[in-house]
């Protein structure tokens, strides 16, 4: 290469509390091109983006960026300030000043409206609070804010995760315009179709290192590089088709933000639920777990009608929920692995309120062994474990409750490939043991390989019920993205 890159990382490494996120990763992006970073969740893409943007410092290695170019970053976790107006968020740090030198708050919505219109956004009200607009709109505002600062280098970390097809089309039009204007764009996504559509160059990441850069590469080859093994080897064989009466049935159940939902989940079944983020999956899963419960409709567990208003009701009915965001909704990070495992079953382990510590210790070490949780001891704070092992602790907690219905909500998110494989094995084994498993994943590939049936949700409704013979990642994604008019 004769032209020096706009931004480059030279064998950077980074660890977080003993867990390696990046190991000697290298990468370079040129001006006027779109460079995609591709890899599994947990492959180190987000960490690299943060290091490129100067938000965190690498432990080793260095980042070289053209000092003349301003860097703009769109983070995966949205950074909008909830109780400030969209206009305040868009113009933060670049507010218009009145003749007194003060910030002209009254002029900001108008200015924000014009700025958004220049980017082709006319449906977002700049006077609304950021907390009051939808997730997709927040993501668009986040992107717009960064683009409006006219960066020479634009880093986008999973910018499409909450967007529907036409919003993705909008984003790609902006990216093409910026590319034509000479901006260097770095982009991460795990939707292959998007990458193929926009990327000029692709760098594949696995386990914190780059494993190759390509101008074009076909999907199968890319996935093999990403996962380090063929897909068939990553996923275990599906459990046999279930028979018998459903363990869990929903009839006309509706939660805030969903349509009326009907489904039947059988023992021994892994029933997949797919679709884009923000389309009612969360309301379905948390509704089944009583957090909060459904507003209307009927719910039957093992054929008997049940009222589930709180998580306690759900736990009593033999239902367990493993949420996606294990740090904020699942685990108590500073507490011991043992405490995290046994919290819901302490009633069983106690006499007169006092815990039988011996029995608890045995149960904790059994679970650690059974799920191959890698921890120095049961007394280790769970926050010191790697993401995959944390997820196993959470799974272990619910297996201890003797729940027979498992609601697994995107459980492999942010988990390394090896642990992912172990979790797949575990899920299939549990299904073979007769657990009824409702399985949501943001990764269509996962659904296609683990489930015999997948329900696809869009805008709060179940819009497709794909049987085994029609199952593929493409079928799931296309059902999720199809606009209402086409579906009708």
């Amino acid at each position: 290469m004769t032209v020096p890159a706009a931004i480059a990382a030279c064998s950077v490494s980074k660890s977080f509390g003993g867990v390696r996120a990046l190991t000697k990763a290298s990468f370079a992006a040129d001006s006027g091109s779109v460079h995609a970073l591709v890899g599994e969740n947990g492959a180190g893409k987000s960490t690299l983006i943060k290091i490129l943007g100067g938000r965190i410092a690498p432990d080793e290695g260095e980042v070289l960026a053209d000092p003349a170019l301003r860097i703009g970053i769109v983070f995966q976790e949205l950074t909008l300030l909830p109780y400030m107006r969209v206009a305040d968020n868009l113009l933060l740090g670049r507010e218009p000043r009145s003749h007194l030198g003060l910030i002209d708050r009254a002029a900001m919505p108008g200015l924000a409206e014009r700025s958004l219109a220049e980017l082709g956004i006319t449906h977002i009200d700049p006077r609304a609070l950021a907390a009051d607009i939808s997730l997709a709109e927040r993501q668009i505002v986040e992107i717009a804010r960064v683009i409006l600062a006219s960066p020479g280098i634009l880093l986008l970390d999973e910018p499409t995760s909450a967007l529907v097809e036409r919003e993705v089309a909008w984003l790609f039009a902006r990216i093409r315009a910026l590319r034509a204007a000479g901006t260097a764009i770095v982009f991460t996504s795990h939707r292959w179709a998007e990458i193929a559509a926009i990327a000029d160059r692709i760098t594949i990441f696995r386990n914190g290192s780059d494993v190759g850069s390509f101008d074009s590469i076909d999907e199968t080859e890319a996935i093999t590089l990403m996962t380090g093994r063929r897909l068939e080897a990553l996923f275990p064989a599906r459990p046999p088709a279930p028979d018998g009466a459903p363990a869990l049935e929903l009839a006309g159940a509706r939660a805030a933000g969903t349509a009326q939902l009907d489904l039947a989940l059988h023992p021994g079944e892994i029933l997949g639920v797919g679709g884009l983020a923000g389309h009612g999956h969360r309301a379905l899963f948390f509704g089944l777990f009583g957090a909060p419960g459904f507003i209307e409709g009927a719910l039957r567990v093992a054929g008997k009608p049940r009222r589930i208003r709180t998580p306690r009701d759900a736990i009593r009915a033999g239902i367990a929920l493993v949420p996606e965001d294990r740090k904020s909704e699942g685990l108590f990070l500073p507490l011991k692995v043992r405490d995290n495992l046994t919290l819901p079953i302490l009633r069983r382990l106690s006499r007169l309120g006092a815990i039988d510590l011996g029995a608890e210790r045995r149960i904790a070490s059994d679970t650690i062994a059974r799920l191959a949780i890698r921890t120095p001891s049961a007394a280790q704070p769970v926050g010191a474990l790697s993401g995959g092992n944390q997820q196993k602790v959470l799974l272990g907690r619910w297996l201890l409750t003797k729940a027979r219905i498992l609601l697994l909500y995107d459980v492999t998110r942010g988990v390394d490939v090896a642990t992912k494989h172990e979790i797949y094995e575990l899920v299939v084994r549990l299904a073979r043991e007769g657990y009824a498993i409702l399985f949501y994943s943001s990764d269509a590939e996962e659904l296609a390989h683990l489930c015999r049936r997948v329900l696809v949700m869009r805008r709060g409704a179940i819009v497709a019920d794909l049987p085994a013979e029609q199952l593929s990642a493409e079928a799931i994604v296309s059902a999720a993205m199809r606009e209402a008019a086409d579906a009708a």
Binding site: L81, M84, L92, R105, R127
Partner: protein, 332 residues
């Protein structure tokens, strides 16, 4: 024609709708203030058989002044998602210093006032540094500094006493006319300007989400230090008003301002979780708090029961505010 996706057809709220929903705390505080004023006038008229006049207005405004300043100071820190328990200590210290230093002339009183305001800001700087650099929670930092400032106040003025020049009292809390309202107006204008400055915007940003603000390039440490310094400065001003009202000093009368300033801020619609509310609300909250005392007084409520009614009123106001605010947000 296929329908557009949901996100593109959302109806826009009207400007007025947004303004109401986004300032609901302030509007509620204003309504409570209005009710309190009406209640005061009503009770006064029933008991005294005439409407309250210049004297009542003046004495109410004058007695509210220290709390107005202390509450505005507190609101800066609460907006950053902090809390300041040392307000009372700074009021004490300023009050004690004023009584000891001011002497007989207005000139020296004004000169020392400036010094005392600086001392207040320095107290705030200490708090800000401990919170910002020391990585300690605001509540525990200010618990420690409260004790330090109280000690300093007693060192300065071991026994109640000292003197405040009458000309200084006339300037700050003139007993003949409600001139002190001018200070409230100035405070409001000062706030409006601050709200429209870099630190003003950053104050709200870190109260909304400190981690995100840092990511967005907000200078968190600088903003916190500014907030605590302004808080200290205003608490010192509260001490000056207190000294001017009492025309003498006492190193312990300011203690109560720690808790009353928090009450005023809460009544003024400032969220204790940071990032929402404004100093204007805190001013309203301070006036409400003062008026409630007056209402209870003119209503011939046994003064021994006074804190009972204040406590009940605070709870009712907070619960009602939460219910009404929630209903308005949901309706949109």
């Amino acid at each position: 024609m296929p329908p557009e996706t949901s996100s593109l057809t959302l109806p826009r709220g009207s400007r007025l709708g947004h303004t109401i929903a986004q300032n609901i705390g302030l509007i509620l505080a204003g309504s409570i203030l209005l009710l309190a004023i009406l209640g005061f006038v009503l009770i006064y008229a029933l008991e005294q058989h005439r409407l309250p006049g210049n004297f009542e207005l003046t004495s109410t405004v004058n007695s509210a002044m220290p709390l107005v300043f202390a509450a505005v100071g507190q609101s800066f820190v609460v907006l950053t998602k902090g809390i300041d328990l040392s307000v009372g200590g700074v009021v004490d210290l300023a009050n004690a210093m004023a009584a000891v230093t001011m002497g007989k002339t207005l000139g020296s009183a004004l000169l020392w006032s400036v010094v005392i305001l600086f001392v207040g800001a320095a107290c705030g700087l200490l708090n800000g540094l401990l919170v910002g650099l020391g990585r300690l929670q605001p509540i525990v930092v200010t618990l420690g500094t409260l004790s330090i400032f109280q000690g300093l106040a007693i060192r300065v003025l071991p026994q109640p006493g000292g003197a405040i020049p009458p000309s200084f009292t006339d300037l700050l809390v003139n007993p003949n006319a409600p001139y002190a309202l001018i200070f409230i107006v100035l405070l409001g204008l000062g706030w409006a300007a601050f709200r429209r400055s870099r630190p003003g915007v950053d104050l709200y940003a870190i109260g909304n989400d400190e981690a995100a603000s840092r990511t967005l390039g907000v200078n968190v440490l600088r903003t916190k230090i500014i907030a605590y310094m302004l808080d200290g400065l205003l608490a010192a001003a509260a001490g000056l008003f207190l000294a001017a009202s009492a025309t003498a000093g006492d190193a312990t009368t300011g203690d109560s301002y720690t808790l009353t300033s928090i009450v005023a801020v809460v009544l003024g619609g400032v969220s204790l979780f940071g990032g929402r509310g404004s100093a204007i609300g805190a001013i309203a909250g301070a006036l409400i708090t003062t008026l409630i005392v007056d209402i209870l007084f003119f209503g011939h409520v046994d003064p021994l029961f006074q804190s009972f009614y204040e406590g009940v009123f605070l709870l009712i106001a907070v619960v009602a505010g939460g219910v009404i605010g929630g209903a308005i947000r949901r309706r949109r």
